[in-house]
Symmetry: none
C-alpha cells in the first residue's frame, strides 16, 4: 500500500478569505469529498511551529526528543556528511563595514560569486576540529564543525538585524566553550579570506556590495535517530527542493533523490516533482512531497500569489500523482497567513484520503470546512499512527 | 442515581456504510436525540486497543499503569481466585503429533470431553507452586500458578501457528526463570495425563483429533488495584458472557453474577442479559453490560451480521433496560471494521444520555453523526470523570 504525504508549506491562513478557501482546486475537492478532514496543530495547540520541528513531528519524531537545532537539518539538506555529535550552523554571506557593523544580512540578495566564496571557506582545520562549508540557495549555506567535544550550547554570530555589530559567539553552558571559540576563529579567518577574494573584487567592479562576512545561526548537534524504515517498516522518500526539508527527511533516513527544477521557491517546476514522484513511488511505500512556494508567498504578504500556488499544486501535482497512492494526506506544516507574514499557531486544514475512511461533510480542503471535519483537531505526531493503522502495521496495545 | 455503561464490542466501522449507520435502532436514536455524542479513542489517538486494555480504560484504570498481561484477566473471568503476585496464562487445548509439532491449535474446535480433560489437569503442585486450571469456552481455558517468586517475564509455549513444534517457555528476564521452569514441567506432565485420559480415547473413537497438549500464552501477573467502589464510591456490576470482560470487571472489584445464556458469541441470549440487568440494578449504582457479538461479526468480515447484532441490541436490550437508568452511556471498546477484520485505531461513536446534558445535533449513534458531536473526541479515561460529575461525586480541583 502506497502513501503520499503532500505538504504545502505554511498553507494555513487567517481570516474569512483564505488561500485554500479561494483557490480553485477540483482535484483536492474530489479527495476531500470522499476523504476525512480535520485541523492539524503540528506541534500541539498554541505552539508556533518552525518548519524543521514541524516536519519532524509530521514524520512521527517528537521534536521535544529529537530537535537539536536547525543547523543540523540544513547541513544535511546541503548534502554534508554528519557524524554523531558534529555541530552545524545555518549561514548567510552578508556585508559588514570596516567596524564589523552589519550593513546587509544577505549581501544585496545578489548571488554573484557566492559559490566561489563559500568554496573558499571549505576544509579549514582548527586543532582537532574540521570545518566544512557548503553553499545552498541565494546567500545561504551550511557550516559544519566535526570533531571531539563540540556542543550546540553557543550563541549566534548573526545579530539578525542591520546596523548592529557582528556578534562574538559565546557559550551558554560550559560545554559550549570550545565550539564558540572555534566558531569565532573561523568567522575571523573567513572575513580575511572573503575580503581578499577575487569574487568579491568582481562584485565590487559590477557595483555589488561585498559578501565579506559569514553570519552563523541555529547551532544544532547531530544524534542519529531510529530510521523511518526501522520505526515503521515503510520505505520513505522525499521529493523536495528546499534544503531544510531534504535535511529533515535525510535525518530520519528517507531517500532524498535530487529533483532538478525543484527550487523551493514560487517558481519551482512542479512537473519535475511530478516526474520524480512517479519514479519514486515504484520502490517506496511512503512518498513525502514538499512545496515551499505557499509559505514564501505568505511571508511576502502576497495572498494572490499564495492562492495561485495552491491552484498550481492542485493542477500540476495533485491531478497527476494522487492516483498513484492508496493513502493520500494533504496538509501544511504550519500557517503563514499573508495578513501576518510569519508563521502562526493557527491549525492547518488536513485531508486524509483512503477508500475506506469515514467520509465527513467537508467537500473542500480549506479552513472553514475542515474545522468541523471528522478527524477533529489532531497533532503532527498523530499522522503516522493513522497511516500505520490503515496500512495494517500498527501494533495493538493489549489483546 | 443509576448509570448504565453498555459496550458493543468492536462496534466502530470504517467506510461510508457502517453497521451503526445502517442498523435500524429506534431506541438508541431516541437517546441520541436528547443526549450528547462524540468520538471515543479508548486508549488515545492512533492506538489500536486490545479488549483488555480498553476495558481497563473505560473503567477509569490507566492500562499503562494497570495492564499486566491478559492471562490475569482471563483467569479472573474463569472464576479462579488470584492472590497478589500470582501468574496466570491463557490456554488452548490443542493437538500435537508424536514429535510435538502442533497440528491443530484448537483440537479441531470440537469441545467433546474438554471439560473432563481440563479438570484432569487441575490442582497439581510443583515444589511450592500450586497449579489451578479451568476450562472457559470452546478449546480455551486459564492456567494459574500460585506461590512465591513468580513472574510474567516468560515466553509462551503456544507457537501461534501449526506445523511448528510446541515451544519451551523461557525467561525474558532473570526473575522469570522459576515460572518458565514450572510452566515447562506442567506442560510436560499435562501431555502425559492428556494422552492417557479416557476422554481422549472417547474422542478418538468418535473420529475427533486428540486434545493432547496445553498451549499457554499471555502471561500476566496480578497486582490488586484499588477497587471500583473505593475509587468512585459507586457499587459496580458486570453483565457479560465473555470471560475476558468478566475478568476485567472482577479485577476492578465489580460484582460479576453468572448470566446463563450469555455466551459471548453472536447467538447470546440478550433476554437473559436484560433479566440480569433488571436484577442487578436494584442493588448497584453502575451497571456495565457487555455484548461481544458485534466484534465477532467484525472479525469474520460479516457486515450484515454485525448490523443485525446492533439491531438486536437495540431491540432486545436497550429497549428494555435504558429506562432503568438516569445515565446511559453506549459505545464500543474499539473498532473492528468488517472491511479490516481486525481491531483498528478508528475512534468509536459514543452516546452519553442524561436528562440534563447539552443535546447536540446528532440524531443517531453512528460514525457520521457523532464525529461532530458535542463531546468532541474523548479518551477512555474521560468516561468515569463524566459519570462522577453527573452523579455529583467529582472532586473539585481548587476551591
Amino acid at each position: 500500500m502506497k502513501t503520499l504525504l503532500l505538504i504545502m508549506d505554511g498553507v494555513g491562513d487567517r481570516g474569512k478569505q483564505t488561500s485554500l478557501g479561494r483557490a480553485r482546486t477540483p482535484h483536492l475537492d474530489k479527495l476531500a469529498k470522499t476523504g476525512i478532514t480535520g485541523m492539524l496543530h503540528p506541534l500541539g495547540r498554541g505552539v508556533v511551529p518552525g518548519s524543521d520541528t514541524s516536519h519532524l513531528a509530521l514524520f512521527g519524531y517528537d521534536p521535544k526528543v529529537y530537535y537539536k537545532g536547525r543547523g543540523a537539518f540544513e547541513a544535511f539538506g546541503a548534502g554534508l556528511e554528519l557524524k554523531d555529535k558534529d555541530v552545524a550552523f545555518r549561514t548567510n554571506l552578508g556585508t559588514v563595514d570596516e567596524n564589523l557593523v552589519v550593513t546587509d544580512r544577505r549581501a544585496g540578495r545578489d548571488p554573484l560569486g557566492l559559490d566561489e566564496l563559500y568554496a573558499a571557506l571549505d576544509d579549514m582545520e582548527f586543532g582537532d576540529v574540521m570545518i566544512k562549508v557548503k553553499h545552498t540557495v541565494e546567500h545561504r549555506g551550511a557550516l559544519l564543525l566535526s570533531g571531539p567535544g563540540l556542543s550546540a550550547s553557543v550563541t549566534n554570530t548573526d545579530p539578525h538585524e542591520v546596523g548592529v555589530k557582528l556578534l562574538r559567539s559565546e557559550a551558554i553552558a560550559p560545554e559550549g566553550e570550545k565550539t564558540a571559540s572555534i566558531l569565532n576563529q573561523f568567522t575571523e579567518q573567513a572575513s580575511a579570506i572573503l575580503a581578499e577574494h577575487p569574487a568579491n573584487k568582481m562584485r565590487q567592479e559590477k557595483g555589488k556590495v561585498s559578501a565579506n562576512v559569514v553570519l552563523s545561526r541555529g547551532a544544532g548537534i547531530y544524534f542519529k535517530p531510529e530510521s523511518f524504515e526501522e520505526k515503521y517498516r515503510l520505505k520513505g522518500v522525499c521529493i523536495a527542493g528546499g534544503a531544510l526539508y531534504k535535511g529533515a527527511a535525510r535525518y530520519v533516513g528517507m531517500d532524498v533523490p535530487d529533483v532538478p527544477g525543484a527550487t523551493g521557491t514560487t517558481s519551482t517546476d512542479l512537473g519535475a516533482k511530478t516526474a520524480a514522484v512517479e519514479r519514486a513511488v515504484r520502490d517506496h511505500d511512503f512518498v513525502f512531497v514538499h512545496v515551499k512556494g505557499t509559505d514564501a508567498a505568505g511571508h511576502d504578504g502576497n495572498a494572490d500569489l499564495k492562492c495561485q500556488m495552491v491552484e498550481r499544486i492542485d493542477k500540476e501535482l495533485v491531478a497527476n500523482i494522487a492516483k498513484l497512492f492508496e493513502i493520500v494526506i494533504v496538509t501544511g506544516d504550519h500557517s503563514t497567513p499573508p495578513s501576518a507574514k510569519r508563521h502562526t499557531a493557527d491549525p492547518v486544514p488536513i485531508l486524509f484520503w483512503h477508500d475506506d475512511v469515514r467520509p465527513d461533510a467537508a467537500a473542500r480542503l480549506c479552513e472553514s470546512e475542515c474545522m468541523t471535519g471528522g478527524l477533529g483537531h489532531i497533532v503532527g505526531l498523530d499522522i503516522m499512527n493513522l497511516v500505520l493503522d490503515y496500512v495494517g502495521k500498527a501494533k495493538m496495545f493489549g489483546e
